[in-house]
């Protein structure tokens, strides 16, 4: 009890001084708004459905991109993990492609797909494929050689070897890569929306700023923070579920 009290003491103090500072006119409300207004803007956003709608748009693109990244990253990762030759051949390509910031592909993706979910999803997919691909490759490399021998002794065909041995054996490590990717997904999706794509939370932040609704803009930021905390909590829960 006293612990949670200490945890909120500083934020509460900051918010209170912000509110007081706004009251006394020390700060410019045009840029900084005030906690009470932001709260009202947040409640409005939540009740009229705009927050939920834009959140869904962002999550939709993030999930779409993650799904593609998971399939591509795991499949390519398994191939590269199993064959030293293909890994050697593709290393320069992988290394150079993954060092390009995914956002740099926004204009290209716009050309290819136009505004909307696919262009955003593809950029998310690009960003998220790498951590999954790299952890999968490493995980396949580290599979217990004895398990591969077991698969040979049981005369498994390649398909059975992948589904019964390799995929389950690398699963826990792939989930670590996926965790990193989930973090990327939200950041990239919101960034693309702020930058170029007229949908989702990022676009909401942009529009609020451009129409000088500073309180709405802050409310979006608070909402994004809560969303990030929720996603992290979900991931931790999944981790604990897996460890149990």
């Amino acid at each position: 009890m006293s612990r949670s009290w200490r945890a909120i003491a500083i934020p509460a103090a900051l918010l209170l001084s912000w509110e007081i500072a706004a009251d006394t006119g020390w700060i410019d409300l045009e840029f900084l708004s005030r906690p009470s207004q932001i709260l009202i803007a947040g409640i409005t956003g939540l009740t009229d459905g705009t927050f939920l709608f834009t959140t869904w748009q962002t999550l939709e693109a993030a999930l779409f991109g993650l799904a593609i990244a998971l399939v591509v990253g795991v499949l390519v990762g398994i191939v590269l993990g199993l064959s030293r030759f293909s890994e050697m051949m593709s290393r320069p390509v992988v290394e150079s492609l993954r060092s390009i910031p995914s956002i740099a592909f926004a204009p290209l993706s716009l050309l290819l797909f136009g505004f909307g979910l696919p262009m955003e999803g593809m950029i998310v997919a690009y960003a998220c494929t790498w951590p999954i691909l790299i952890t999968t490759t490493a995980a396949v490399r580290h599979i217990e050689p004895r398990l591969i021998e077991v698969s040979q002794a049981l005369e498994m065909n390649s398909f059975q070897r992948v589904t019964k041995i390799i995929v389950p054996a690398v699963m826990s490590r792939v989930l670590v890569g996926l965790r990193t990717a989930v973090g990327f997904a939200l950041v990239v999706a919101v960034t693309v929306e702020i930058l170029i794509n007229p949908r989702g939370l990022g676009y909401g932040v942009m529009i609020a700023q451009q129409s000088l609704k500073v309180d709405v803009m802050y409310a979006y930021l608070v909402w994004l923070a809560l969303l990030g905390i929720a996603v992290n909590a979900l991931l931790r829960l999944a981790d604990r579920e897996r460890a149990a």
Binding site: L147, E149, V150, A153, L154, P168, M171
Partner: protein, 265 residues
């Protein structure tokens, strides 16, 4: 004791190793793991191969399994040269914790061979249940390997190999990592299984007493390079018993006779 024909037709030999060698390099850098090893295994025979570390006994077993190839010589299984691992040659590895799929339950591990062979689900369930019962694993059926003791894990691996319905079981020091008491319990379980199912077993060990206790035949390998120094038939009544058999004069005589051979280089 089993009755044995004096002259055996080749068909009765399930495994035939002829002049099998494992040699690396030539000249000064030549290193022979083992050289010119020849032996046969009859259907239903329990063969123990005993030797100290470095005599290449594990390598030899892997070659019989088809996981490795000899540098010269041939190993035939059922009359055909061994080319690769097959379901009818089951392998039981020493390191049970690595050889079991850690994400699969005991039942799931035993079912593996059956799934691969495309056995229908109902049949898998029945078969797995039989094996669980047989191996005393029923209470552990839904546990993961890591939740089991070493002895239990090794039972799972044996059950999985039995599920393959193999013609031969190749065991690589299967009880080497277990404590003395568990080892004896598993020796007796294996002995009973082998008799009930008339199994053919090649059993690798570095423990001479274990080899004599379990084997119909014992092959002694010396090291550097690995070679057969002795092959004996163990004329001890079955079922063998931990106390009586180990105190039997024949057992003691064989133990004395072979003891010196193992260390000798």
């Amino acid at each position: 004791m089993k009755l044995r024909a004096v002259a055996q037709a080749p068909a009765e030999n399930i495994v035939e190793a002829e002049h099998v060698s494992m040699v690396f390099g030539t000249g000064d850098t030549r290193h022979a793991v083992f050289e010119d090893i020849s032996f046969e295994v009859r259907l239903g025979e329990f063969l123990c191969i005993v030797g100290s570390s470095g005599c290449g006994k594990t390598t030899l077993l892997r070659q019989i399994a088809g996981l490795q190839k000899p540098t010269s010589g041939t190993i035939r299984f059922n009359g055909e040269p061994v080319a690769k691992p097959t379901l009818d040659k089951a392998i039981v590895f020493q390191d049970y914790s690595k050889a079991l799929l850690p994400w699969r339950t005991v039942s799931g591990n035993i079912a593996l061979a059956l799934e691969v062979a495309g056995t229908p689900k109902d049949a898998i369930k029945t078969e797995v249940n039989d094996l669980l019962l047989k191996m005393g694993l029923l209470p552990a059926a839904e546990k993961l390997p890591a939740q089991l003791s070493g002895g239990m894990q090794q039972r799972v691996q044996i059950a999985r190999s039995l599920a393959q319905r193999p013609k031969i079981i190749l065991m690589d020091e299967p009880f080497g990592a277990l404590d003395a008491i568990t080892r004896q319990v598993l020796q007796d379980e294996l002995q009973t299984l082998a008799r009930e199912r008339n199994m053919t077993v090649i059993f690798i060990t570095h423990d001479l007493e274990e080899a004599l206790y379990l084997g119909d035949t014992v092959i002694v390998l010396a090291s550097n390079p690995g070679r057969i120094v002795k092959q004996i038939d163990v004329d001890l009544a079955r079922p063998r018993r931990q106390l009586e058999t180990r105190e039997n004069p024949t057992f003691l005589r064989l133990r004395h006779e072979l003891h010196g051979l193992i260390g000798k280089h």
